[in-house]
Amino acid sequence: MTQASNTQAPALKLAPTPGQTIGPFYGYALPFDKDNELVNQARPGAVRLHGVVTDGAGTPIPDALLEIWQADEAGNIVARDGSLVRDGYTFTGWGRTAVDNVGHYTFTTLNPGATEEGKAPFIMLTVFARGLLNRLFTRIYLPEDTAALANDPLLASLDEAGRKTLVATREADGSLRFDISLQGEGETVFLSYPRES
């Protein structure tokens, strides 16, 4: 894949529509049955991805909605429907979850594989919340392939503190832990991409 820099990106023809906060009342609209189960818990290779979303005071926030988008275990990017009506067998690569009353979230998913030999596998994450006027993007890197992590261009462009916020921790039971700090202590590095305006 081409490593393209922002300066090469062609200008937009149309001005993009502004985002707005998700607000407090998405809870009856956006969550759906098995929204956070990209795979069934019983499937071999199923892993728990979980963590807490905190604000600038370090307080867990109870009204955030998260979405993840990722490759499968072999590093294939799938384009299959069936995310909203899950059949329990089809891996679609996309999931959504609202955090609970103590700011905690859980996805049941697979460890994404490297999309190319030597690439550091990561899961794409989007954060929406009441009080957050526009969505935030970040990456959740798997911690294991340290050589690939060391060669990753995005991680290389960050200082040690920033890098730490993007690499998940593997827990003893195989779960991935990834906390999200919207502000202040350990503030997660959030990303912008070319062609946003």
């Binding site: 993009p16 502004p18 956006l30 526009n134 912008s192």
Partner: protein
């Protein structure tokens, strides 16, 4: 899409209602907005690029104070998964989900409307076959949500949730009821302009967005710190639907047009670039 929350519950949700915030006056909030907008306009005069998105650090919206990152967003060159988007189809969404007026046994109360338009990317290309989700208050300004304390009536015939898959030209159409403004607790006597929440996907996941569509001529626009967090007047106007008599149907519903433009796809131009080598 559940309607279970229509039952009466006791509401003690302190994180939605900040009692301290309610002592602030609208004048105080409006003065803050005026100052930020004046500084923005001066910056454009001085050569700054026009803003297209809301500020995420916008103090007049008090809930944003502790919830915006303080560091600048870090530039990433999109790769692999970021250049693709999840797929949705007929398996996921039934065509009838785009009609919010037929989800119960009776007709909802209120002004029946059709909101129709297209989803485009920043290059003007239609975003076809993608998911659009909406949710909204009813004709009295009340959500079917347990945290909504506004003492306005729930309509047993209106949930206020819809979904659609865009057509080949990026088109969507929802039939619904015009939502009413509703009060909230940002400051004393704070009211949101009437709006419909929209959730959108593009061809790249980096185009993912959630926003709110407003109705033309709403007298609450200038007072609302969420809407005014978009400092640029042209950008704000992009969230306002247009009354469209060609969408209005005889003796049935009035019509509004609203086209949505996502950011630019990175996959398309990067692929073109690769082809050049």
């Amino acid at each position: 899409m559940s309607t279970e929350a229509t039952s009466t519950e006791s509401f003690t949700d302190s994180h939605v209602l900040d009692p301290a915030a309610t002592t602030l006056s609208q004048d105080a909030i409006s003065a803050e907005i005026t100052d930020i907008h004046a500084a923005y306009r001066q910056s454009v005069v001085d050569g700054a690029k026009a803003e297209t998105q809301p500020r995420i650090d916008f103090a007049p919206y008090r809930s944003s104070l502790l919830r915006h990152p303080t560091k600048n967003l870090h530039h990433a060159d999109p790769e692999t998964i970021e250049l693709h988007s999840p797929a949705f189809g007929e398996r996921d969404v039934h065509a009838l989900e785009a009609d919010l007026t037929i989800q119960h046994n009776g007709e909802p109360i209120g002004e029946r409307i059709v909101v129709a338009g297209r989803v485009l990317d920043g290059d003007g290309r239609p975003v076809a076959g993608q998911l659009v989700e909406i949710w909204q208050a009813n004709a009295a300004g009340r959500y079917i949500h347990k945290r909504d304390q506004h003492p306005a009536p729930i309509d047993p015939n209106f949930t206020g949730v819809g979904r659609a898959i865009t057509g080949p030209n990026g088109e969507y159409s929802f039939t619904t009821i015009k939502p009413a403004p509703y009060p909230w607790k940002n400051h004393h006597n704070a009211w949101r302009p009437a709006h419909i929440h929209f959730s959108l996907f593009g061809t790249d996941f980096t185009q993912r967005m959630i926003t709110q569509m407003y109705f033309p001529g709403d007298p609450l626009f200038s007072l609302d710190p969420i809407y005014q967090a978009i400092t640029d007047a042209d950008a704000r106007a992009r969230l306002v639907a247009t009354y469209d008599h060609s969408i209005t149907s005889h003796e049935w519903a009035t019509g509004y047009n609203w086209d949505i433009v996502l950011t630019g796809s990175n996959r398309t131009w990067m692929e073109d670039e690769e082809g050049d080598h």
